[in-house]
């Protein structure tokens, strides 16, 4: 028996990619032309929620004029012993996925930015009341998230009520964000581990903490918590963080124990907030890379969407090749964009004061989280094209990294004592290899090389 026998249209993952164009739509809810729209999940106590109840405030679908857009709000109230306030956001994001499972129903964006469309075809087939939509959501939530004991839905189309709830919802989102960003790794007892990427990078484990998002940018600490609840045997699980070994580098006993087991002994220690020594491993799906630039002793950042060459001449593909594979590579570090917004971001290496270059697109996205005294001192592809340009840019702008150069100067390496072996300089262009990036050398092996000299003269010289 299908779970959706009484729903007049199909409900399945196969409808997820459906797009409903303007002239195919019966009605639009929310969308760019409406100021007031929202969807909101609220955790309540068990006695506040009536399981399965669906309320409609304002006209139901047939009462909305064909082809129009309308103010819209969806309030979902959940309760259960395991349901925590912290999980509201995670549950809320499921609405997007579930509504898109409905044939002829499209859902875009989230929170106060939603846009929903119902197709004429599905409307004509009988999908003509929010009660049916509510029923689908009810069954999907209960099927995927059994820890939700009770759930009720309120669909709001009455403009005054939408506006009223919209303002409440905006306050909730703000509080939620403030809490999420304000939450620190110190105040929780467990982190979450994710081994999903082990199918591609077998020694990789993502350690997801409140202040370090998963490398892919898709799993926050809250997401990890919900996922572990939904599927306790699944790839996302609790890591009791154990005793703190190093607060600056972010090393924990519990994390080390877990990575040893999960990497089958290949990785022994992980320090969460550094790109050197024992850095967090990098899978293959990280959103960005923090890469060390020895010439200026700072880090560049680059994200997947950046198609050009970074300041050291390497593109994202090359950098990610150097980074990926579940290894710990000094100075090549896979990161999420959200981690760049964290106060712990590369904390042990100097954080933002160590960042010297990043694509302008990503800089724009995380600008508000870069300390104001640094933000203009970080170069982008618009200001500099190469390392030489970068050096002068940093000097000119007074980037704090410049002080490190001065400190570093006196420690000049002593010249090697051994006598140099005979070297042979090749005329330029004779070796057909071009574009050797800075920091990489060449080694030439001559096999079966015969050197033919017509005469060899050995002369003893006095005084040498």
């Amino acid at each position: 028996m299908s779970m959706f026998e009484d729903i007049p249209v199909g409900v399945s993952i196969i409808y997820e990619g459906e797009r409903i164009r303007g002239r195919e739509m019966q009605v639009e809810l929310g969308g760019p032309r409406e100021q007031y729209k929202f969807e909101l999940v609220q955790a309540r106590s068990l006695d506040e929620v009536e399981d399965g109840k669906i309320t409609i405030i304002g006209p139901d679908i047939p009462g909305l004029k064909q082809g129009t857009n309308n103010p819209f709000g969806l309030l979902v109230e959940v309760a259960g012993k395991e349901v925590e306030k912290d999980l509201e956001g995670v549950i809320e994001r499921r609405i997007h996925e579930y509504l898109n499972f409905i044939e002829g129903f499209m859902h875009l964006n989230q929170r106060y930015d939603i846009q929903l469309r119902l197709s004429k075809k599905s409307y004509e087939r009988g999908l003509n009341t929010f009660n049916l939509i509510g029923k689908v959501l009810y069954r999907l939530f209960k099927s995927e998230m059994p820890f939700i004991e009770k759930i009720q839905f309120t669909f709001i189309t009455d403009p005054t009520a939408v506006k009223e709830w919209y303002e409440k919802a905006m306050r909730v989102y703000e509080e939620r964000d403030a809490r999420a960003r304000g939450m620190s790794d110190d105040e929780v007892e467990v982190f979450y581990g994710c081994t999903l990427c082990q199918s591609f990078a077998p020694t990789h484990l993502c350690v997801i903490t409140p202040q370090r998002y998963a490398n892919c940018g898709a799993i926050s600490w809250f997401d990890g918590r919900a996922t572990a609840k939904v599927d306790p045997k699944g790839p996302v699980f609790e890591i009791p963080k154990g005793a703190l070994i190093d607060p600056v580098k972010g090393e924990y006993e519990g994390v080390n124990r877990t990575i040893q087991v999960k990497s089958l002994g290949e990785i022994q220690r992980v320090q969460l907030y550094t790109a050197f020594g024992y850095p967090h491993t990098s899978c293959g799906c990280f959103e960005g890379v923090a890469f060390y630039i020895p010439e200026v002793d700072g880090f560049g950042l680059v994200h997947r969407g950046f198609k050009g060459q970074t300041v050291n001449g390497l593109d994202f593909v090359t950098l990610s090749d150097l980074t990926a594979g579940g290894r710990q590579v000094d100075g090549f570090h896979g990161v999420s964009i959200e981690y760049m917004r964290s106060p712990k971001f590369l904390q042990a290496d100097g954080g933002w004061s160590r960042i010297v270059w990043m694509p302008s697109e990503i800089k724009e996205r995380v600008k508000d989280f870069i300390p104001t005294d640094i933000v203009d001192k970080i170069a982008t592809e618009k200001e500099v094209a190469n390392l030489e340009g970068l050096r002068s840019f940093l000097k000119e702008r007074g980037h704090p990294i410049v002080e490190r150069w001065i400190e570093a100067k006196p420690v000049e390496a002593e010249a090697p004592k051994e006598v140099a072996a005979p070297t042979l300089e090749l005329p330029p262009g004779i070796v057909p290899i071009q574009g050797i990036p800075a920091g990489m050398g060449l080694k030439i092996i001559l096999k079966n090389a015969k050197i033919r000299a017509e005469r060899m003269i050995i002369r003893v010289e006095r005084g040498k």
Binding site: S12, I14, K233
Partner: protein, 788 residues
């Protein structure tokens, strides 16, 4: 110090002459250093099988072949290859040399695959030699944007990374020598074991992909084809795209060099807008990759149709997939034929060394029906001049009209030979009966079903031009046959591979479907376009090449849009990627190889077995070759099998003589090592088959969804794949799949939109959670990483 590269030193990479240099060891005067070859080492260690010989990967092959035991379907019960024969091999009989039916069938499969691989290898050789001669051996390769792994097959098989055209030569020489050995093994009285023949089939398939890669990356690098651009331009496709008021040059075949020179000549003379250049089969793809204003008329099955239309003023053929009666057909419409390859000379006089104008004159004056010209540049000039001179004189040549067809139909004797000769058993005789009374509807509807092989005409005792009659009845459809195709973009960029990795890991992309091969099946493009759209809607990655890619573009929706206009060209969920011609197939398997290399950092270099094991157990890729014809399809498929990529063929599939079918009920067949623990565990029959013939489109669609499942799927991924499989199975068979319980490993695998029905079906089948494992799967013991 001076360097030189001349005279007898031309084959040396480095030649130094040093007047004098001193070191602690001494002073050296007039020293000359010569180095034969400078090879580039890189950080990736050399794997176990560089330049593998025939038996180097035999163990891997036998692993696959024990799971997918060859199932032979003799197409012919006799062996007539030697003068002992014919030998009857039915039952348990053996031939005079001792060969069994299984041995003979696998030997014929090997022969077919050697033919196919040789065709691509010869293509690569001709292309490479020409480009080296024209542009120099040190011309660097430049294959795709945002890409480091420029030649995944060459790196994987040969163990080096090619940088220049000459490097490709090294890989190609290896392929050539291997194919000779494989062919030698089919000599009478040699190989006695069918599985060894099958292993050789896999070997030649692997070589074929190297050869295809060489041919394509050479032409991409030098001829300026799109370099993996997802938004490669859209080109015109179809009969109706040709402006018939202009002189028209028709190019047919696979090797683009003569067509490139035709385009070059037109550009140089400023004539490009005045002459139409249109192609059939893969040459059309590659000409459009060279210049998007060249028209792609259609797949190979349009050859007879288009020539009979009388539109081409000159026909230029190169190699492969050219009708062997092309000269006869050209004579019918009074257009000269220019043959350009040693592969297909068609009895024409060799005019390679003659003055172009002299050749033009002889062709235009019809002193000769055609010419063999083995110099692409000369072909360019001659073809253009001939087309421009012949066009005005051909006013009178018009294709057969409807009324004439009706008159001709009256001669039909109702003997039914036509229908018997038709590979698709079409009701030609009935159509003739209606047509003689002026009802052309059935005859016209045959246009969509007919592959224009012309066998009916040969069989007809009245010599009726049946194909032309069908054309005449369908002339309105033909005129409207105009749509858009995305020009072949070549390789998949490394950055795209990295982009989809996460979606594959998380199961958001249920699989990669490759639609390849010839378009010779009833319904023309309809079937393949339907399969493509089904999976595009389901947000699979759909990749296409060759005639299949054209067929996809020929179907339009009610607004006149083809799938290429409706879906983006990205290698991502819901993307439709046309890689290009037949030889571009190497990029499809190359993408699977790159997934293993770029994500898991599995070393690629000469590491075939490990990479194949990775793809087989983890990458949900499936190939579909829906139409019949070429041996090349067989060898391309063989290259997929060795990499562990299942292939589905159309109803003609039994003619491949054997299938590679898994036996899902035999639990002992479906064991793998868990690389994390070394334990041997049962993983269920995923993927169930390696080579499967589907009788209907519906069966193929359901099978695609099923064969994307892999033992490594995450729960989310498996749930997504099961949703598609169950949904499609229910749609076409009206019930739950009977083998569902073999693919659900734990409760988390159950698609939650179908929970109730799946749980009920599992209960009925006596399913127990946890019986099927989800390990870190491998077939290779050496890849076990033991727990500390």
């Amino acid at each position: 110090m001076e360097s030189r590269e001349s005279g007898d030193l031309v084959k040396r990479d480095l030649s130094l002459k040093i007047g004098e240099f001193s070191s602690t060891l001494g002073v050296f005067k007039d020293v000359e250093i010569q180095v034969g070859r400078i090879l580039e080492e890189w950080e990736e260690p050399l794997g176990p099988t560089p330049f593998p010989d025939i038996t180097a990967l035999r163990e891997w092959d036998l692993k696959l072949l024990s799971r997918y035991k060859p199932f032979y379907m003799p197409f012919c019960d006799l062996c007539c290859l030697c003068t002992f024969g014919k030998c009857d091999l039915t039952g348990d009989k053996r031939g005079a040399c001792g060969i069994t039916m299984a041995g003979q069938q696998s030997r014929i499969v090997l022969l077919a695959c050697c033919i196919g691989a040789s065709a691509h290898t010869e293509h690569a050789r001709a292309m490479l030699n020409h480009l080296i001669e024209e542009y120099g051996r040190d011309t660097p390769l430049d294959v795709a944007l945002n890409t480091n792994v420029e030649a995944p097959h060459t790196r994987l098989v040969c163990g080096f990374r090619p940088r220049t055209l000459r490097d490709l030569d090294d890989a190609l020489s290896y392929v050539e020598s291997q194919i000779v050995q494989l062919l030698a093994s089919t000599a009478t009285g040699q190989e006695g074991n069918n599985l060894d023949y099958e292993s050789k089939v896999f070997h030649v398939g692997m070589l074929d992909h190297v050869a295809m890669e060489i041919a394509d990356i050479a032409q991409i690098s030098v001829l300026g084809f799109p370099k993996g651009e997802p938004e490669a331009p859209l080109a015109d496709l179809g009969f109706g795209a040709i402006d018939t008021s202009k002189p028209m040059i028709l190019v047919i075949g696979h090797e683009v060099l003569p067509s490139v020179e035709i385009v070059n000549y037109l550009m140089d003379q400023g004539l490009f807008g005045e002459v139409e250049v249109g192609g059939l089969c893969c040459t059309a793809h590659d000409t459009a990759r060279y210049n998007k204003r060249a028209r792609i008329i259609g797949p190979i099955s349009w050859e007879l149709r288009f020539i009979r239309s009388g539109i081409p003023d000159v026909v230029v053929i190169d190699k492969q997939c050219v009708r062997t009666d092309v000269l006869l057909e050209c004579k019918k419409i009074g257009s000269p034929l220019i043959a350009t390859s040693e592969m297909s000379c068609h009895g024409l006089p060799d005019r390679t060394h003659d003055e172009p104008d002299k050749i033009v004159e002889d062709l235009v004056e019809r002193r000769i029906p055609g010419a063999l010209i083995l110099d692409p540049r000369k072909v360019g000039e001659v073809a253009v001049k001939v087309a421009m001179k012949i066009a005005p004189r051909r006013e009178g040549v018009r294709p057969l009209g409807v009324e004439e067809s009706g008159e001709l139909a009256k001669r039909c004797r109702h003997c039914g030979e036509c229908t018997r000769a038709c590979p698709n058993n079409l009701p030609i005789m009935e159509a003739m009966s209606l047509a003689r009374n002026g009802d052309f509807t059935l005859l016209s509807s045959l246009y969509d079903l007919c592959v224009s092989c012309g066998r009916c005409e040969s069989a007809c005792p009245e010599d009726l031009p049946i194909v032309s009659m069908i054309n005449a009845a369908a002339s309105k459809k033909i005129a409207e046959e105009r749509s858009k195709i995305r020009v072949g973009r070549g390789a998949i960029q490394d950055v795209e591979i990295r982009e989809v990795g996460r979606a594959i890991v998380f199961g958001e992309i249920p699989g990669v479907l490759a639609l390849v091969g010839c378009a010779n099946y009833p319904e023309g493009g309809g079937d393949v376009a339907r399969i493509a759209e089904e999976f595009l809607k389901r947000r699979f990655i759909v990749v296409a090449s060759g005639c299949a890619a054209m067929a996809i573009g020929m179907t339009k929706d009610e607004e006149g849009l083809s799938l290429y206009e409706k879906y983006p060209g990205v290698f991502d969920a819901g993307g439709l990627v046309n890689v290009g011609s037949c030889i571009s197939n190497a990029h499809i398997t190359g993408a699977a190889i790159k997934i293993a290399n770029i994500f898991a950092k599995r070393p690629l270099r000469a590491n075939y077995e490990e990479i194949a094991d990775y793809i087989y157990n983890r990458v949900g890729a499936v190939g579909v070759a829906w139409g019949a014809m070429s041996q090349k399809a067989a060898s391309i498929a063989a290259g997929c099998w060795r990499l562990g990529i299942p292939v589905i063929v159309g109803p003609h599939g039994s003619k491949y003589r054997r299938m590679l079918l898994g036996r899902r009920e035999r639990e002992e067949d479906w064991m793998v090592y868990d690389a994390r623990t070394g334990e041997r565990v049962y993983i269920g029959p995923a993927p169930e088959h390696l080579f499967y013939a589907a009788e209907t489109v519906e069966e193929a669609i359901v099978m695609v969804a099923k064969l994307t499942m892999r033992p490594n799927d995450t729960s989310k991924g498996r749930a997504v794949k099961l949703s598609h499989y169950i949904d499609l199975y229910q749609r076409y068979y009206g019930e739950m799949p009977p083998d569902l319980h073999l693919y659900v490993r734990s409760n988390a695998d159950i698609p939650f939109t179908m929970r109730d029905q799946v749980v009920a079906a599992l209960e009925k089948a006596g399913w127990v959670e946890g019986k099927i494992a989800s390990p870190d799967p491998t077939l290779l013991e050496r890849l076990i990483r033991r727990r500390l």
